[in-house]
């Protein structure tokens, strides 16, 4: 180093300089040039390490550097490291380099191929990024890994966002990464695969684990953002269907740093509360990144262990999340979840009407069969007026009258017809009909023998 060669001249140039009189030890410590002798008041101010650090990224005094040091007679213009006597410590050099580099580069995206990836037991990731001509050491501190779906594999082409710095201890340039994307969304695909395998290994994806949803839920917990589109859509469906339910919102952030923790807490809250018949967990559409919390293993496990049956409804039709795989049912959208969960009140009224018809028809059929039996009995005895037959007829008419009075709709009287099979059973579903089958059409005033003319089609 040239400073070493110049050192003797500097030494000779006069007293009062740092290191004069053999006090100066080039390898004294890491603290930079030795302070001036306390006795010498004329000594120039010496730049100490602390001053370097206060003044981030100092610019080397280029004017001074151009002068030939031999010409320097006025030490007021000197700078640390200009001479052997003012030589700076290695740590000063690397720390200054760090400050310069950090000051010169704003955080930026860098692309390259990952190699030598190592996850250290302290939780930090170390690897190199390289292209055909260069490489750079990279680190991802464990606290910054939250924003990265999965550790990269060697050979992956990635773009990494971070800042360039110098690791002073080794004097190496280092790229400190906080975000990373891989070509073909490889990190996310890797993360999904890892999570899916782990859940599968614990049996949480098994089809037999799926619970049946209640057909008539009265209380539905909705785990989502209280201001989001999902809740709005679900409420709209419930209103349109005039559904007979209470929606209980359990608020949680559905994207951002806190989403995973809040979703887990909200789902666990539904379990502890225990009064919901069903839980819908989801959010409206968004970018892959927006939906990412629903691919988190912790959220998936919370759903799997939820004490009430769950419907996962994340994003749009095309988005399939880990939550969808774990929930008892996957709905393509929040609206679809609401539609799957609740029946409209008109649908329910229809269902009640069917029961009413079945009961009325069954009762009529009972009475008819008994009446026929009585008629035969009377004919056999040859005396239709016999008191035995008469009293039984009276009892029967009594029951028939009561049944009729009880019938809430007096269905047939209002112009409905009932189809019955040969045994007199009411045929209440298209599934009871085959093309060509014979059946009886029962009207208010009689029976029409009928036959199915075409292929029955079911109302969707």
């Amino acid at each position: 180093m040239s400073g070493g060669r110049r050192a003797p001249r500097r030494d000779a140039s006069g007293a009062g300089q740092p290191g004069v009189g053999g006090e100066y030890d080039l390898f004294a410590d890491g603290q930079g040039p030795t302070p001036p002798h306390p006795a010498d008041e004329s000594a120039p101010p010496t730049v100490k390490r602390s001053e370097y650090q206060r003044d981030k990224a100092p610019t080397p005094p280029s004017g001074g550097a151009k002068r030939r040091s031999e010409d320097v007679t006025d030490d007021q213009g000197g700078y640390p490291g200009e001479t052997a006597q003012s030589a700076v410590a290695v740590s000063t050099l690397t720390e200054t380099a760090r400050d310069v580099i950090e000051g010169a580069f704003i955080p930026l995206w860098v692309r390259g191929e990952v190699m030598d990836f190592k996850s250290h037991r302290n939780g930090h990731w170390y690897f190199c990024l390289r292209d055909s001509r260069a490489q750079i050491r990279c680190v991802v501190w464990s606290r910054d890994q939250r924003g990265i779906p999965a550790p990269p594999d060697d050979g992956m082409q990635v773009a990494a966002f971070g800042r360039l710095t110098v690791y002073p201890t080794r004097g190496e340039m280092q790229f400190t990464i906080v975000k990373m994307r891989a070509r073909g969304d490889g990190l996310r695909r890797k993360a999904l695969e890892i999570t899916r395998k782990r859940l599968e290994a614990d049996g949480l994806l098994a089809p037999e684990r799926k619970r049946r949803l209640p057909r008539y839920p009265r209380v539905i917990a909705v785990v989502t953002s209280p201001d989001g589109a999902a809740l709005h859509d679900i409420v709209a469906v419930i209103r349109r269907r005039e559904a007979n339910v209470r929606l209980v919102v359990v608020p949680a952030a559905v994207q951002g740093d806190t989403a995973v923790v809040e979703l887990c807490a909200a789902i666990e809250r539904v379990s502890r509360w225990g009064e919901a018949d069903l839980a819908i967990i989801g959010r409206g559409g968004g970018s892959v990144e927006d939906l990412w919390a629903f691919n988190d293993e912790r959220v998936a496990r919370a759903i799997a262990y939820c004490s009430v049956p769950t419907i996962s409804a994340v994003g749009h039709e095309v988005d399939i999340s880990i939550s969808d795989l774990v929930a008892d049912m996957r709905a393509p959208t929040p609206s679809a979840a609401a539609e799957a969960a609740v029946r409209s009140s008109s649908e329910l009224r229809n269902e009640l009407r069917k029961f009413s018809m079945r009961m009325s028809n069954a009762a009529r059929s009972l009475v008819r069969v008994r009446r026929d039996q009585l008629r035969h009995l009377g004919r056999d005895i040859g005396d239709a007026g016999s008191w035995q037959v008469e009293s039984r007829r009276t009892a029967l008419e009594n029951v028939a009258g009561k049944l009729h009075a009880l019938s809430p709709l007096a269905t047939l009287g209002r112009g409905y017809a009932v189809a019955r099979d040969a045994e007199g059973r009411a045929l209440t579903s298209v599934e009871s009909f085959r093309e060509g089958d014979a059946f009886d059409l029962v009207l208010r005033d009689g029976v029409v023998p009928s036959r199915v003319a075409g292929h029955p089609t079911k109302k969707s």
Binding site: R349, A363, R370
Partner: protein
């Protein structure tokens, strides 16, 4: 009785009425019960209204359900 239980009971009653060999008295009482169940279920449908609420957990772990505007 929940709506779900009422529907289940109606299913049983209708099934029994449609079966063979039922005594008339038994049929009548089943029919009466069926009509009663139907009325109650229909009433529940008529009075029920969708509600949106919000679950709030207190520090002591108890829960409040607060009404919210639709």
């Amino acid at each position: 009785m929940t709506f779900e239980q009422r529907i289940a009971r109606l299913e049983e009653i209708a099934g029994q009425l449609e079966g063979q060999g039922l005594e008339l008295d038994r049929a009548l009482s089943l029919f009466e019960e069926g009509i009663e169940t139907l009325r109650a279920a229909a009433q529940e449908l008529a009075t029920a209204e969708a509600k949106v609420q919000r679950l709030v957990e207190r520090a002591d772990g108890s829960f409040d359900v607060l009404d919210r505007d639709l």
